[in-house]
Symmetry: C2
Subunit: 197 residues, 2 copies
Amino acid sequence: MIHTLLKNKKVVLASASPRRKQIFEYIGVKALQYPANIDEPMLELPPYKLVQELALMKASHVATHVDSGCLIVGADTIVYSEKEILGKPDTIGDAIEYLTRLSGHTHSVYTGVAIKHGVHEFTSYAKSSVTFKTLDMHDIEAYIKTKEPFDKAGAYGIQGYGSQFIEKIAGCYFNVMGFPISTFYDMLKDMKKKKLI
Amino acid sequence: MIHTLLKNKKVVLASASPRRKQIFEYIGVKALQYPANIDEPMLELPPYKLVQELALMKASHVATHVDSGCLIVGADTIVYSEKEILGKPDTIGDAIEYLTRLSGHTHSVYTGVAIKHGVHEFTSYAKSSVTFKTLDMHDIEAYIKTKEPFDKAGAYGIQGYGSQFIEKIAGCYFNVMGFPISTFYDMLKDMKKKKLI
């Protein structure tokens, strides 16, 4: 299990996200949070590559600030709808637009994970499908009033008020929340097999 | 949204489950928890009927103890694998058996929801598929050591250490956690349409 594989490791989560912190708590891993301040360039890459690239940039940024013995974990999540990335909404108008687009449709969520441990680097990713109920303007307005949409890619959080809008998902729930636990476990098992942890 | 539909309602959750309580917090609903002490008879019913029946039994039990103006919510969750219901494991042996059965396979989780409001009763349910990674005995032993399996149907919790064993789900995550938010929202919208809330 993850907490046994990471026993005696100093784990650094290269993210300020409270949701990722919470996920680490679910799996019994005490991690230091060190936010990566990178400009996220909109690289011309397919989503599954983009999220791995950004996750690695975050882990690499943090690596220059912490002890070289640390195991650094970076992650990047995007909401992808009709071949477009939906970022965090800046305005109420953005939030209305994003939620209207997601309403009644299925979109994809990708999270890239990067692990940096000494000279070694690993990346992987998860993709999930999320199907929204059909929302009416009352739903959208009431949701915006909760302020939940504003710090979240795609203008919704799957854990919180947003949960009631989700008809179904296919894939990893924790990916949609911001960190694919199952993918991370596979990466660590692979590192263990190669005797790198 | 759910919290607007339930504004000014006294909501009673007929369950002792801390996970259901947490789900109500996600959606901003303050509910009184009143555990239903019913003997859960193993009725000869298909799973989707059984969970609704048990949810209603719980809500009805609590209805005899609280103010008649309350909106009472009952729920019952079962883990269903190879045409058998997996309950909460009583012993380490049970937990090993259940986790071995789930390992590398897909099973179903059903949650029935019952709402009792005055003379009105409504029930519905959700079904999700959950696919486990292949676990080895190290995984199973380490997981049992966390004690997480013991108060959970099927000997696992999707939120917690167990999360790392879940390859993917199809359907509602919150159903697997113990309460299908999306289904509950549909039920309340329907009641609203009928002017019953």
